[in-house]
Symmetry: C2
Subunit: 335 residues, 2 copies
C-alpha cells in the first residue's frame, strides 16, 4: 500500500498532466465538473467572445490575463485559512527557541491551544504570529519549511492534505482558460511565498504568477560572504481589498479580463476588472453546500460574503457560482 504522501504526489502529477494535455481549442467537453446552466454558459461565452478571431470582442493573446483569489475560491478556507493553520503549528515548532512565548500573547494562547482566545485574535495578533513564523530565514528555507508542512499536515474533517482540498471545477476553469491563451494568476490576501510553495504543483500556476501579501526581504551576506535573501518581519504590502488591483498593477501591469473571488476581499479586484469595459468576466464562488463543503456567508469569520457584496454583484451583473447547484463535483477525490 502506498503511503498517503506518495499517493498524493501521484494524484497531483496525474491531475497536472490532465490539465496540460487539453489541446488549444479542444472540442472535448471542457468544464466537465460544472453542471450545465447559465454559470457554465457565462464562462463558455466569455472565452468564445474573447478568443474567436471573428469576434468583435477578440482580445489579443498577450492581454489575456485572468486572476484568481486563492482561499475559498480555489481551496477550502474553513475552519481557517491553510496558512493560518500553518502559522499556528509553526508557533508550536518554534516554541523551544522562544521561552518568552509561554507568557506572551498571542503566543501563549496558541501554545495552550486556547481555542476561545484564538477565536478572538485580532488582525494585529495574527500579524505578530505571521511575522514570528514567516521571517528570519532565507526565502529558500521558508519554501522548504512550507512545502514539507503541506506534504504532511492533514485537514480534520476530510482527512486529506490541505492542498488536496482544491475545487475540481476551478482546476478545470484554470486549465480551460490556459488552453485558450489566458495567463492565470493567483491574487491572494494570503502570503505570496506561502502560496508559491504549492501553486505550481497544485494549480499549474508558475511562481511568477502568484501575487500575494508580501513581507519585506533583506539582502544579507552569510559568513562565507555569499549574498542571500532573508525574510524580514515587516509587511511590504497587503494584497487584499484595494490591495488586489494595486498588487495586480504592480506585478502584472495589466488589467485582467476575468477575475474570480469569493469574498469581500475580492470586490475591488472584480470592480476594477469590470471597469476596463468590454466582455469581462467577474465571478464569485458562493459557499452554500454544507454537505459537500461548507455553507457560510455574511456572518463568517473567514471569507465573509456580505450582503453588500451580493448587491454589488447583482448590480454589476457578476456571476455568482452556487457550489450546490453549479458544481457536479467539488473535489478531485469526489466520485
Amino acid at each position: 500500500m502506498m503511503s498517503s504522501i506518495r499517493r498524493s504526489a501521484i494524484v497531483a502529477a496525474v491531475s497536472l498532466s490532465v490539465l496540460v494535455s487539453v489541446p488549444v481549442g479542444a472540442q472535448t467537453a471542457p468544464l466537465a465538473s460544472w453542471n450545465d446552466g447559465p454559470t457554465k454558459q457565462a464562462i463558455l461565452n466569455f472565452v468564445r467572445a474573447t478568443t474567436d478571431r471573428s469576434s468583435q470582442q477578440f482580445v489579443q493573446p498577450d492581454e489575456r490575463i485572468a486572476t484568481f483569489d486563492n482561499d475559498g475560491t480555489l481551496l477550502v478556507e474553513q475552519p481557517l485559512y491553510t496558512q493560518g493553520i500553518f502559522a499556528l503549528e509553526r508557533v508550536g515548532a518554534l516554541a523551544e527557541d522562544h521561552p518568552e512565548w509561554k507568557t506572551t500573547e498571542p503566543f501563549k494562547s496558541v501554545l495552550e491551544r486556547d481555542e476561545a482566545a484564538m477565536a478572538k485574535f485580532t488582525e494585529a495578533d495574527w500579524e505578530k504570529i505571521v511575522a514570528a513564523t514567516h521571517s528570519g530565514m532565507t526565502v529558500e528555507a521558508f519554501n522548504e519549511i512550507a512545502a514539507k508542512w503541506l506534504a504532511t499536515a492533514t485537514d480534520k474533517r476530510f482527512k486529506r492534505h490541505y492542498t488536496e482540498l482544491v475545487y475540481q471545477p476551478m482546476l478545470e476553469l484554470l486549465s480551460y482558460l490556459r488552453a485558450n491563451g489566458y495567463k492565470t494568476y493567483i491574487v491572494t490576501g494570503g502570503g505570496q511565498d506561502f502560496v508559491r510553495a504549492f501553486a505550481p504543483r497544485v494549480y499549474g500556476v508558475a511562481l511568477e504568477q502568484v501575487v500575494g501579501t508580501a513581507g519585506k526581504t533583506k539582502l544579507e551576506y552569510a559568513q562565507n560572504g555569499q549574498a542571500e535573501l532573508v525574510k524580514a518581519p515587516e509587511i511590504l504590502y497587503v494584497d487584499d481589498k484595494t490591495g488586489k488591483p494595486e498588487g495586480i498593477h504592480l506585478v502584472i501591469g495589466r488589467r485582467p479580463w476575468g477575475a474570480f473571488g469569493n469574498s469581500d476581499g475580492d470586490m475591488q479586484m472584480l470592480q476594477w476588472t469590470q471597469a476596463g469595459g468590454g466582455p469581462r468576466l467577474m465571478m464569485l464562488v458562493h459557499h452554500d453546500d454544507a454537505q459537500r463543503e461548507y455553507a457560510y456567508g455574511a456572518r463568517s469569520k473567514v471569507g465573509t460574503f456580505s450582503d453588500s457584496l451580493m448587491s454589488v454583484a447583482k448590480k454589476g451583473g457578476w456571476t455568482v457560482i452556487s457550489i450546490r447547484n453549479d458544481w457536479r463535483r467539488v473535489f478531485p477525490f469526489d466520485p
Copy 2:
C-alpha cells in the same frame, strides 16, 4: 516623406519582427554585433551549458530567468537617465497648474533651466520631481503621457528618440536568450511604469516582465462610480542595489541564471545570482567608448562603475563587457 514618428514606429516593428523570428536553437550566427572573443564566448558557453539536455548543468526551461538592468545596460543613460529628462520636461508641461513652483525648489531651478543648480540636485530633490510628475493620474493616463513623450522627445547628441538609443548587441542577447527558452526581465532602478511604456515595443519584454522602482497606487472610484487605479506620490519600494534581488524575489520568485548590469546599483543583483551556484552568468557593461557612445566610470554622476565594483567583478570572475572592444556595432542605426 514619412514623419519621424511613423518612421520610428516602423523601425520598431521591423526590429521586433527580427527579434521574434529567430528560431529556437537556430544555427545562424547569433550575437552578430558582438566581436569574437572571451566575452561573446562566455555567453555562448552559458547558453550551451544550461540548455543542452546532455549537459550536467542543464537548467529546466521554467527556471530559465535572465535579468537586465535598463539604463546604461540596454539604453544610453548619459547625460541623464531618460526618465530624468522626462520628469524635468513634465515639470515644464505642468507648471501652469502649479504657480507655486516659480518660487519653490527644486521646481524653480528646473523652470529656470538652471543647469548648475540641477547638477547639484539631491536624491530628495529628484524624489520631489518624480512624485510631482508621476502621480495624480490613472495608471493608463500615465502610460499614455510617457508613450507620447517617448515618441517625440529627442536626444541632443544623437538626434534620435531616446528609445532608439538602445544597444544592438544587447537586443541580440535578449533575443538569443529568449530563443533558448530564457524569460528575459528588466530589473531597473528606474520607474516600473515608465519603463513599461516602451519595454514591449523596444525590447520585446512584456509588461509583466518589467521590475522597477514602484510608486504606490490607490484604487479610487470616479464620479461615474467606476473603479480606477491612481498613481500616488509615495514610493512603495526602490528597486536598486539590495532592492534589485528583493524586487526579483517579489515579482519573479526565482533566482536568475543570468544577470546583466553596468553600475554599482547592479552589484547585489549579480552577487545574489552568483550565490545560487552552478553555471550562472554575471556581466557588466563597461562604458569605455567616448567616440561611439560614452566613456565613464568611478566618478560619473550617473551609472557609477566604482573601483570596488570592478574588484568585486574580478574576484567573482564576472564578465566585464568593453563596449570599445566587444561590440562591433553599438546602435541599431550604426552602419
